[in-house]
């Protein structure tokens, strides 16, 4: 696994430690998939702190007013980033989890479809939003999250993930939206 950045050639010692703290579990959730497990990084307080710091350093001068985190692993990284940036945190959830009025966006899976939801009123028109998830694979989930936020008139500044599965070319799914990742895995 190499430690790279999407749009600059910055290498950072912290990224090497983060990359090596991530564990790969073969054949999960099904045969042939090499699952990138970030829970081992959460067991290393230095690596976890460095992960958050790297995101905060990138976004602190970018006037981000909303950090939107995709359930459930986006809930682990999003809130600490939101707190450090002084931004709102908005959870993007599986269907029927959020109480009250929601908007929904359906998206394709390998087989079938799924849906994600966000609260009505959580994000205002024109707000500058960062979307967080632990990993980008095909980009289907992030593309749906971008659509949800754009439907309420938000400006999605960037998507940020700890890991990118480069071979799956998730970036191509996101149109003109940039993606920032700490670790690229092939």
């Amino acid at each position: 696994m190499s430690a790279t950045n999407s749009d600059q050639s910055v290498t950072d010692d912290r990224v090497a430690r983060i990359a090596s703290s991530i564990r790969v579990i073969p054949d999960f959730p099904k045969p042939g998939i090499m699952f990138q497990d970030i829970t081992t990084m959460l067991l290393d307080p230095v690596a976890f702190k460095d992960t958050i710091d790297l995101f905060v350093e990138r976004y602190r001068e970018k006037d981000i007013s909303v950090v939107a985190g995709v359930e459930a692993r986006g809930f682990i990284f999003g809130p600490p980033i939101a707190l450090a940036l002084g931004a709102k945190f908005v959870p993007i959830r599986k269907p029927n989890k959020l109480p009250g009025a929601v908007i929904s966006e359906e998206y394709s899976l390998e087989y079938g479809t799924d849906k994600m939801e966000m609260h009505v009123g959580a994000v205002q028109t024109g707000e500058r939003v960062l979307i967080i998830d632990d990993l980008i694979a095909t980009g289907g989930t992030l593309a749906a999250a971008i659509k949800l936020l754009e439907r309420v008139g938000a400006n999605v500044v960037e998507c940020a993930c700890v890991i990118e599965l480069a071979d799956l070319k998730g970036r191509d799914h996101l149109g003109d939206k940039p993606v920032f990742v700490l670790v690229s895995s092939t």
């Binding site: 579990i25 307080p45 707190l83 109480p99 009250g100």
Partner: protein, 179 residues
């Protein structure tokens, strides 16, 4: 700002949604707290102030809303964060604990090796109701050989007696607001 003032603002930031997820339940919605950066920061700070000198080595957060609060606490106090998840979400080797619901049962899982003998653990969730889920979480952590120091929640629902249930297992509860 005093604790009392911060807690008052936290309580006011919560939203109650009637009849969710089913008729008769007054659902305590913490998402409105997350939309107020100052109140969210105060919430996390109150927990950090309480635990930073308690030698906590593990913060175990219950999926999914425990993930919203637990990691920030863990980061500030230098502890490991351990997610406790619904079945089949965690890859690799897990231990499972079954618990009883009003109708039927559910299961909570934790990674083997995440928590070690000698760890001092905090269990975090957004809300405690009957205490069933928290007790399952506590059992997982204790089975791994660690000590559960306390359970920390934003909201307690006193009429559901979660505090008493935890007390009978020897675990104190710290909650910021009562519903």
């Amino acid at each position: 700002m005093s604790s009392a003032d911060r807690i008052s603002a936290i309580k006011s930031s919560l939203r109650v949604i009637p009849n969710f997820p089913k008729p008769g339940i007054m659902f305590q919605d913490i998402t409105t707290l997350l939309l107020d950066p100052k109140v969210f920061k105060d919430t996390v700070d109150l927990f950090i102030e309480r635990y930073k000198n308690e030698n906590i080595s593990v913060v175990a957060g219950i999926e999914a809303r425990g993930f919203l609060f637990g990691p920030s606490i863990a980061l500030a106090i230098g502890a490991k964060f351990v997610p406790l998840r619904k079945p089949k979400k965690l890859p690799g080797e897990v231990i499972s604990e079954k618990y009883i619901l009003e109708y039927g049962s559910d299961c909570l899982e934790m990674h083997v090796g995440a928590v070690k003998s000698g760890d001092r653990a905090l269990i975090v969730d957004d809300l405690i109701a009957t205490g069933g889920t928290v007790c399952a979480a506590m059992n997982l952590v204790e089975r791994a050989g660690a000590e559960v120091v306390e359970c920390a929640c934003v909201i307690e629902v006193p009429k559901l007696k979660g505090r008493e249930r935890l007390k009978s297992c020897g675990i104190p509860l710290y909650a910021l607001v009562e519903s």
